[in-house]
């Protein structure tokens, strides 16, 4: 009976002030969508880093006039280096073979290049790809070394962009969350004002504090949960539009967003939406009703 009373109060409360309720739900939904997108992005960037950095190499190209002695010395030095996980020596012939494969669509280029022109190189896999700088400093001056190229530096640029987008989404989520928070506080105040007589009588006859507060707090929580469901729908829509549509071309570059990841975001969004609403409503009531 008491549960029924509380629930009917919640529905009446949401309906009585329907424009405010809609505003609250929309703001909440946008904020939670941003939060979800940011969370997905975080997961995505992590996945991509794993994938790319695992395959990333540092190439040490040797000068064309490198001596046998210099090569063996360098090889031995690299193999004993604790920063290096794997060393692969690529001689001119192998380099030419890879080159031919890479440019098989441009036979003119392939014909113009002789195997002799391509430098020999050591391909290194590092224990930690971020320690590229140490390798560079150590081997740049070594005799016989021409240039050192690090693929991960290129990747860093891509990841910097992705991290920036993620931060923007997170910042937008926070700003919208503040707006949602203020709307919740306002809605609760209006609701408490429109029920001030009931609340006064309830306090007078000794209704427990939770019983007085519950309808208001639940009202905010219900709005928060509806907002998170809308946020989930927005994320699903975004995946459909972007990854199955216009961004399909980027599929090779970006690892695809999994459906499971999107649905994993829902508990986060619902939790944050519900908790923020509940806490805001509760704090507002403490000031406003003094219960």
């Amino acid at each position: 009976m008491r549960m029924k009373y509380v629930l009917s109060e919640v529905l009446v409360g949401l309906w009585r002030n329907v424009t405010m309720t809609v505003a609250m739900i929309i703001t909440m939904a946008v904020s939670l969508t941003m939060l979800g997108a940011s969370g997905l992005m975080y997961k995505q960037v992590g996945d991509m880093k794993d994938l790319y950095y695992k395959n990333v190499e540092v190439s040490i190209f040797l000068k064309t006039d490198v001596t046998e002695q210099q090569r063996t010395d360098l090889d031995a030095k690299l193999k004993s280096d604790p920063l290096v996980k794997e060393v692969l020596y690529v001689n001119k012939d192998e380099a030419y073979k890879t080159f031919k494969e890479m440019y098989q669509d441009a036979p003119d280029l392939v014909n113009a290049v002789k195997p002799d022109l391509l430098p020999e190189s050591f391909r290194l896999k590092l224990v930690n790809p971020e320690q590229y700088k140490n390798i560079y400093d150590q081997y740049q001056g070594t005799e016989g070394v021409d240039v050192i190229v690090d693929q991960s530096r290129l990747l860093d640029k891509i990841f910097n962009v992705l991290t920036a987008i993620q931060n923007i989404a997170l910042a937008a989520a926070v700003v919208m969350a503040i707006a949602a928070l203020l709307l919740v506080a306002n809605t609760i105040q209006v609701a408490a004002y429109s029920k001030r007589r009931e609340v006064a009588v309830m306090k007078l006859v000794g209704a427990s504090n939770w019983f007085i507060q519950a309808p208001f707090v639940l009202e905010a929580v219900v709005a928060g949960l509806i907002g998170s469901v809308l946020g989930l729908i927005a994320l699903i829509g975004a995946k459909q539009l972007l990854f199955s549509g216009s961004l399909k071309a980027l599929e090779g570059l970006l690892s695809p967003v999994q459906w499971s990841d999107i649905f994993l975001m829902f508990p986060l969004m619902a939790g944050v939406g519900g908790l923020i609403s509940a806490a805001t409503a509760w704090v507002t009531l403490r000031f406003y009703l003094r219960v």
Binding site: M1, R197, E198, K203, V205
Partner: protein, 220 residues
Amino acid sequence: MTKTYPKASRPSLDNVSVSIEKGEFVFFIGPSGSGKSTIIKMLLHEVAPNKGRVIVNGKDVTSMRSWKRPHFRRSIGCVFQDFRLLPNRTAYENVAFALEVIGKTKAVARRVVPEVLELVGLGGKEHRYPHELSGGEQQRVAVARAFVNRPLILLADEPTGNLDPDTSIEIMRLLDRINRTGTTVVMVTHDSNIVNQMRRRVVEIESGRIVRDQARGVYG
């Protein structure tokens, strides 16, 4: 006990000590601003004294935690000058509301509410809304709401302040009847007629001090 409100030049109640026995009927009289209503607020644990203690039903209310207040309030019924009824609920619903929000079932309300409405003389008017009732009848609903939970104490803050003399006397008869069931009645008023007619204990307060405490007293 002493109570000084912030920004007040003198205490609202100054070293006042009064003891009310179970089952008594007490009037607090005195001019506006004398501190009568502060006593009601203290008994309700709405304000706390700066000095001294308030003991209700053998419990020290002064040190009571605020979360215990709701339960404490259930042992006290309250009636006010402005009735404080819910305008969108009928007489029956107003009384039932008070029961339901403290966790009583609808079945209990169906049994108890008609009984108490009959007691206050509103039998047959259960389904009227407050605006369809006279002032006296509205106050009866308020008394029914205060009494339905069978409180130990009934606090009445100028319950006849908005009523004409005849209606006031009817309300007083009702409070008297409730008092006879063993309920302690504490009433704040400056209605001299009523005080003179009832001949009950009178505590007169002036500028926050008790100037008279008389059994079977009259007004001034």
